[in-house]
């Protein structure tokens, strides 16, 4: 005989598969029995729940959750939707919301980033120190380096074309903004005469990365 109530576990929650033939009252009893007998196995944890196999009204859903709460120690914190399209929509909306927020919030990092070290952040980042050759800074937002930039920087790593990179001494190996990569010229700069440090900004315009001295005009054009 097919079971009228099946509990499936996922990473963060449980899926409750319900029989759609059974009358509702009988189903409630079946749910109560099932969770009562599985109490020990399920333990005392917080989970999300989603329903499958049977259309339930909002009241019925709530009723079932209260039955679960009565019969075991499981804590149902939310109901998730079992529609992949809707779910994708929701998660996209949440991500976009966070991406916009993250680009305009920042973090500080103090220290020198040396070869092989990677600083990967969700927000904009201000590095108080140098980024040396072979080191990498990756940010979804903007990157500001209060020191020498000789390494690699990826700004706007999730595709933000307004992202920019500022360094007090701009001498990067490679800069990537959104999907565009610019690399240093081939003659190694370190063998040239020591250059005078100059604060510069790298930004994206018409699919090209430009590096210019940071003056008033350029600053006015910065979009946050």
């Amino acid at each position: 005989m097919k079971e009228s109530v099946v509990i499936k576990g996922t990473k963060s929650g449980i899926i409750l598969v319900l029989d759609d033939k059974l009358p509702y009252e009988q189903l409630k009893e079946a749910v109560a029995d099932k969770f009562h007998s599985s109490d020990e196995f399920l333990g005392n944890v917080s989970k999300a729940i989603s329903f499958q196999g049977r259309e339930l009204t909002d009241e019925q859903q709530e009723e079932i959750i209260s039955i679960i709460h009565e019969n075991c120690h499981l804590n149902i914190v939310c109901i998730t939707i079992d529609d992949p399209e809707k779910e994708a929509d929701f998660s996209r909306a949440i991500e976009n919301k966070y991406a916009v927020q993250d680009a305009n919030t920042g973090q500080f990092f103090k220290g020198t980033l040396r070869s092989g070290q990677v600083l990967d952040v969700e927000t904009s980042i201000i590095v108080i120190g140098d980024v040396k050759v072979g080191a990498k800074v990756v940010s979804k937002g903007n990157v500001i380096i209060l020191g020498t930039l000789e390494g690699t920087v990826y700004a706007g790593s999730t595709g933000n074309t307004n992202a920019f990179v500022i360094a007090l001494d701009m001498n990067p190996m490679q800069i990537k903004i959104a999907d565009v990569i610019a690399r240093a010229p081939d003659k190694p700069a370190r063998l040239k005469k020591r250059h005078k440090p100059e604060t510069k900004i790298a930004f994206l315009e018409d699919e090209n990365i430009y590096i210019e001295p940071l003056d008033k005009d350029v600053m006015n054009d910065i979009k946050l």
Binding site: S115, G116, Q117, V118, V133, G134, K136, M173, Q174, I181, R183, A184, P185, D186, P188, L191
Partner: protein, 262 residues
């Protein structure tokens, strides 16, 4: 069907990377299709010596982990159309790759290129095992110093144990003036100790340092080291080339210091 060559030494700092860069460039100059693979994960150098560091987007670990296709990670050389570099990753370590994966990669590249040259890291741990996994032949680089020769001997033993029997010796940084005075082992001494065939002798040449710093291998140039590397390339391709006379003409400063010594 291409040949997979591993350049190895055991000891560090004897010139594996310089040899790899020059060998690859020389073979490309001879019209061969060549891929250089830097297997020193975490301490990459070959890209710097080749002057291609600023072009790196993907690396060996990205290829192994299928983050990109091989073609995307291969960097075309600045000067030679048929020379490519697969750079190593700087942010991972040797355990990111297994010998089986390296063998598979080498076999894939074999179909399209004439020579696949592996730049081996120093040591005999996993990095070494990765580098030799797919190799058909090995070039063992050593300098005429007891420590380097001792390590080379160990390496030759390990290569034999891994069934790589086609092994040749490159004696690097030889100073003929010191050999003459009896203060340095000669290449013959090194060959006697190691018991494998010689394929090249490279003199100690300051041009190497400039070429490394500029990121342009000097193979094929007029200096002694450039000629010596070109000869190695030809011998790798199976040609019979006589060895160079490495006697350095006395420069101004040597003459000067000789006067003061008196």
């Amino acid at each position: 069907m291409g040949e997979v060559i591993v350049v190895t030494s055991g000891k560090g700092g004897v010139g594996k990377t310089t040899t790899t860069a020059n060998l690859g460039t020389g073979l490309a100059m001879e019209g061969k299709k060549v891929v250089l693979i830097d297997t020193d994960i975490g301490l990459r150098n070959l890209d710097v010596v080749m002057g291609l560091e600023n072009r790196i987007v993907y690396n060996l670990v990205d290829v192994i982990e299928n983050n990109c296709r091989i073609k995307q990670a291969l960097i075309k050389d600045k000067r030679h159309q048929n020379l490519f570099l697969l750079p190593s990753a700087q942010t991972k370590d040797k355990t990111a790759v297994s010998p089986e994966q390296m063998k598979k990669l080498a076999d894939e590249l074999r179909n399209e290129y004439d020579y696949i040259i592996m730049d081996c890291p120093a040591g005999i741990e996993q990095g070494f095992q990765n580098a030799i996994a797919g190799a058909d032949r090995a070039l063992v680089v050593t300098t005429p110093e007891v420590s380097a020769v001792r390590d080379a001997d160990r390496i030759i033993g390990l290569l034999e144990a891994n069934e790589i029997t086609k092994t040749h010796l490159i004696v690097n940084r030889l100073r003929s003036d010191m050999v003459k005075e009896g203060n340095m082992m000669s290449s013959d001494d090194v060959v006697d100790i190691l018991g494998i065939d010689l394929i090249g002798i490279v003199p100690d040449d300051e041009h190497i340092i400039t070429s490394t710093n500029n990121g342009e291998p000097l193979v094929g140039s007029d200096c002694l080291a450039g000629q010596a590397y070109m000869n190695i390339c030809k011998r790798v391709m199976g040609e019979d080339v006589p060895y160079l006379n490495l006697d350095v003409k006395e420069g101004f400063f040597q003459k000067l210091s000789a006067i003061f010594k008196k």
